[in-house]
């Protein structure tokens, strides 16, 4: 807008005929440019929002509207029955609680331990640091599927540093391993040791951010007699809030959305992502609640399930949206 004003003011100053035309052209092209940008973004935003809008539209209509060819987006008969059915079918409150359990605690642990590791890599020089950071990047590019089965065996026959074997020798354990599959430990332990879901990426984000904090702050703290850990807690953490917000949100969302590791390590725990994945099949196969019912009548309930799945994410996103977008831009992932 400022440029436009400047150009217009220039135009009123010089009243030469040739420059007139040029400046007007500039103003017009600028204006058209803005409209084009808005149109492109509007179209792309439609691509993003379309499935959401469609899901919502189907979730709030009566089954009879599914047969009505006149209804595409705006239903003729509104109802909340589908949401209620999906709520009951999924056993929503219980499953949501499971999901929160599986995603929130590892996220909080990961938030802290990855920050420690990131600080270690950002600020200190020690032998083997380069190799260790290379290994962090390696964990980032190895697809989790590569080691999923063997990680399962590690959890199934859990024997960290032969501690379980030792306890077995002493007679405190019946076997020389502990089975920690199907317990929350299989999620908490990796997060506790900064090796949870995508933690390599989080260590990387923290490292980049901590490197951007001026060193003088820490030196001042050291001179005032603060220890390394105290400096980290009192100086670095309050200055790195954007990085913490970014990591918290991304980690929470990725744990929430993960439907690969949860069925593997916690096969008995139902969480939203995996039960939504099987929801349609579970509803319509023989023995399901909606077996034999016309698929068209099952769709609205399925869509309502999707809405219920996205809803917590949407709420978190809308509450933290401004902070999140700001903090990602500032969190210095760019380095």
């Amino acid at each position: 807008m400022n440029i436009t004003k400047a150009i217009v003011s220039q135009f009123t100053k010089h009243k030469g005929k040739k420059t007139d035309k040029r400046l007007w052209l500039n103003v017009i092209s600028n204006f058209i440019g803005k409209i084009v940008v808005s149109l492109i973004l509007l179209g792309l935003a439609y691509v993003i929002l379309y499935p959401l809008i469609y899901c919502i539209s189907q979730a709030i209509r009566l089954p009879s509207d599914m047969y009505d060819p006149r209804v595409i987006y705006i239903p003729r008969h509104f109802t909340l029955q589908n949401l209620k059915d999906a709520w009951d079918f999924l056993d929503y409150p219980r499953i949501l609680l499971n999901t929160v359990n599986v995603s929130l605690w590892p996220t909080i642990l990961q938030l802290c331990t990855c920050a420690l590791a990131g600080y270690g890599f950002a600020r200190f020089k020690f032998k083997g640091k380069g190799i260790m950071f290379g290994l962090v990047i390696l964990t980032l590019i190895v697809p989790p599927q590569t080691i999923s089965v063997t990680t399962y065996t590690t959890f199934r026959y859990f024997d960290p540093f032969f501690i379980s074997s030792g306890l077995n020798l002493v007679g405190l354990l019946p076997e020389n391993y502990i089975d920690i599959t199907d317990t929350l430990w299989s999620f908490i332990l990796p997060a506790l040791f900064a090796s949870g879901l995508k933690s390599g990426l989080f260590i990387f984000i923290y490292r980049q951010f901590f490197r951007g904090i001026p060193k003088e702050l820490e030196e001042a703290a050291y001179i005032d007699g603060c220890g390394s850990f105290g400096t980290f807690l009192k100086i670095i953490v309050p200055n790195a809030v954007p990085a913490f917000i970014t990591v918290f949100l991304l980690s929470l969302v990725w744990y929430y959305n993960d439907y690969f590791t949860v069925p593997l390590f916690l096969p008995l725990t139902e969480v939203l992502s995996s039960s939504l994945n099987d929801m349609f099949t579970n509803m319509t196969t023989v023995g399901g609640l909606y077996a034999g019912v016309d698929v068209l009548l099952v769709y609205p309930i399925w869509r309502a399930g999707i809405i219920l799945y996205i809803l917590p994410l949407l709420i978190i996103f809308l509450v933290t949206q401004r902070k999140f977008t700001e903090s990602i831009a500032r969190s210095g992932i760019v380095g």
Partner: protein, 348 residues
């Protein structure tokens, strides 16, 4: 030293009215000092450590502290990455038998021979995944840079637009994606609403492009890309964020200088914007590759999942995964080599 011992030795004799506890404590003290005298080099362990730490040169001390900061990660890496990875390599080289526990038996690269044998669908799936990659990476990169540049401009409703474009980062997941895709696929048949059939239909576009006289290859590529527009938009959330962050860190002074010199917007993009975001292009290429490769719904990983979950063939599954990983690593390495020369770093 001798004085101290004398004092301690004399003390119990002088104050023999003291209660037993204290006397005992003093005896212990005397004993300790005596041992000290015997072997002056030997000190209590904790004290020794403390002394060693405080005597350390500052830099070494800082190094030790830094190592302690990364220690939890190192333990975790060892327990939850290194050991499983070694086990997995072992699996890939052996015949895995599952009973109460599991056992592995060397089988002379049988697994690797098996997956590369003629008639195996593995190679086919591998090539189709690589083909996907060849299309996805450039499209996602160009698209996300384009959107980031647009979002970086000032226009009305920018904050709303940004929120919409970051939405995929939050919601994106295979579950919702299949649900979304499936949602529109099936409903169209019943509703007679053709435009909803495929997410966005490109049937007419093919005719238009053909009539424009473009070569068939280009038309095919364009159609392929536009068929993917939905996936592309939903897959480029993180990339848009990274580019946007990079764009915002460019100093406005550079653009002002350009304005003074009378550069066009096109020149500004190629001379200022593009070199400034070039480090992030590399990051985004790697991120997109890893993201595409580790998406559980891609053909190779779906096949591996089937091999493991349905036929319990853990050895073959592990071999497939490692071949896959080596290929990813080779591709990423190649891209690093190519990009190393092309990237412009303003710092360092």
């Amino acid at each position: 030293m001798a004085d101290v011992i004398n004092n301690e030795a004399v003390n119990p004799a002088e104050e023999n009215k003291e209660i037993i506890d204290q006397a005992e404590v003093k005896k212990v003290k005397v004993k300790k000092i005596k041992t000290k005298k015997d072997k002056p080099g030997k000190q209590p362990k904790a004290k020794k450590k403390e002394k060693r730490f405080s005597k350390m040169p500052y830099e070494k001390k800082q190094g030790f502290v830094g190592f302690m900061f990364t220690l939890p990660w190192l333990i975790g890496f060892f327990m939850f990455f290194f050991i499983p990875a070694i086990k997995s390599i072992n699996f890939s080289l052996s015949d895995v038998k599952i009973f109460e526990n599991y056992a592995t038996e060397w089988n002379n690269f049988y697994n690797y021979k098996y997956i590369f044998a003629s008639g195996s669908t593995y190679l086919q799936n591998l090539f189709s995944t690589l083909g996907d990659l060849a299309i996805n990476v450039p499209v996602i990169l160009i698209f996300s840079l384009f959107v980031a540049v647009l979002l970086n401009r000032k226009f009305i409703g920018r904050s709303v637009a940004r929120a919409v474009f970051f939405l995929p980062v939050i919601v994106t997941t295979g579950v919702v994606m299949t649900a979304f895709n499936g949602a529109s696929d099936t409903s169209a048949v019943f509703e007679g609403d053709v435009s909803n059939g495929i997410m966005f239909s490109t049937m007419n576009a093919t005719d238009v492009l053909n009539s424009l006289g473009l070569s068939e290859q280009i038309t095919k590529y364009l159609i392929l890309v536009s068929d993917r527009i939905f996936d592309v938009v939903w897959d480029s959330g993180i990339q848009i964020i990274l580019f946007l962050a990079a764009l915002q860190s460019i100093s406005p002074a550079l653009y002002e200088a350009c304005d003074v010199e009378g550069a066009t917007a096109w020149e500004k993009f190629w001379l200022i914007t593009f070199p400034s975001v070039s480090p992030i292009i590399l990051v985004n290429i790697v991120y997109t590759i890893v993201d595409t490769f580790s998406d559980p719904s891609n053909p190779v990983l779906a096949q591996i999942d089937g091999v493991i979950k349905n036929s319990f063939n853990y050895g073959v599954g592990a071999a497939m995964v490692w071949v896959y990983f080596v290929i990813i690593l080779a591709i990423i390495g190649l891209i690093f080599l190519i990009c190393k020369k092309l990237i412009f770093y303003s710092v360092d």
